[in-house]
Symmetry: C2
Subunit: 240 residues, 2 copies
């Protein structure tokens, strides 16, 4: 799926070169793919590390399967960055500090905090990238959406966390606080990235031939992200 | 590839049921697949952990790619254990202690020790399983051999280690000692497993309709394993 293989109606063929002629747009797409790539690599590494806390080998294998599914997406994102003429490792570099800091500030104290971080943290990141995807050319949008598909392990986390809270209701209070802390830390690091990466921020504001978001629309986007976070916490059996 | 889907010459169809009617053989195969599975899971986890020592993000991604290739083999091995009527997690349980002890006694002190452990340790285990595969029914043999295929990253390790030794020749002496320690620890743990798992040991001695190894043949097998270990050390630029 490259720019040269357009659909029969020619829409893809038109869409990609037009958008990518805009240097600021191209830079923003490379930033976005770099951020998602490093996020996946980082999530992979932390998930495997959290798996060492697993109470059983079955749980360890379930978490390792989630982790390898995350990592498997990196190759496609890197290939697209290279197609756009950039180096994948250079593209990831600007996001290492913020993503590493997010993980350093949210090191799980136990197995359940690790599970919730995987579920809530990845869910939040995925929702955010899905919102951004609406402003992308078709080829990049398809790639980003494919990289966000549920790896099918959300049910595993919900099952384990609900069972643990049923067995020890006090756990619910601690994990609800943990969920709020994850959300707060994610917003802090996202704001830092937005302040530093002009091209990425400008993407949301629109550009040549592309509609953007006004302040009210950005507000509505954040309201949607917060609402979905609350839904995930409720699914886990945790009051928001 | 199950017992009911034999080839046109009927050889696979005959082969599998005959061998698996022998309860001791079946038990040995389940043991073997359990040991390989836990070995892959364990190698995956240690490789990702060693990746945190990587000097660059490129090196981290290369090692994570090796690790996920190891992990991807587990599902097929588990499916075969289930086909044979056993629980994959129960099948792995008897090997956890020896494999965990191997890793605890060979925790790499730095990035290069981790690379050599991945290359030399996996190479040794793969050679050993390949020797055993000669005594298996065709279906199990194919599965075991497929699970041992080089994930194509040996060249990465050889390149990195040779470059490091060229830059600092004293490193070569330390890493050569490390290679010998890995070999010694692997033999210690393998002997412990052989002493405890009668069915697995008996596999090498042969059984109904299957030829086995006499003591001289076992001696020759160990000579071959040692020779291949020495070849790998030489490839790394390390005197044995």
């Amino acid at each position: 799926m490259t720019a040269s293989t357009g659909g029969p109606d020619g829409s893809t063929e038109q869409d990609v070169p037009l958008a990518l002629e805009d240097a600021a747009y191209r830079e923003a797409v490379i930033d976005l793919l770099g951020a998602i790539s490093y996020g996946e690599i980082s999530a992979f590494e932390r998930l495997v590390e959290d798996g060492t806390l697993a109470p059983s080998l079955e749980d360890k294998v379930a978490v390792a399967t989630m982790a390898t599914a995350e990592f498997a997406r990196v190759a496609g994102l890197h290939a697209r960055i290279a197609e756009l003429g950039a180096d994948p490792f250079a593209a990831m570099a600007p996001f290492r500090e913020a993503i590493d800091r997010f993980h350093a500030h949210t090191a799980p104290a136990d197995w359940f905090e690790g599970l919730i971080k995987a579920y809530v943290g990845d869910g939040l990141a995925d929702d955010f990238y899905r919102e951004i995807a609406a402003y992308l050319d078709a080829t990049t949008r398809d790639l980003v959406l494919a990289s966000l598909e549920d790896t099918g392990h959300a049910a595993f986390v919900v099952d384990r966390v609900r069972a643990a809270i049923a067995a020890d209701p006090r756990l619910g209070g601690r994990l609800a606080l943990w969920g709020r802390r994850l959300m707060g830390e994610a917003l802090t690091q996202a704001q830092r990235v937005a302040a530093e990466r002009d091209a990425l921020s400008a993407l949301l504001a629109g550009g040549v031939d592309r509609p953007g978001l006004d302040l009210a629309a950005i507000g509505r986007m954040f309201a949607r992200l917060t609402e979905r976070h609350a839904e995930r916490m409720a699914e886990l059996g945790l009051a928001h």
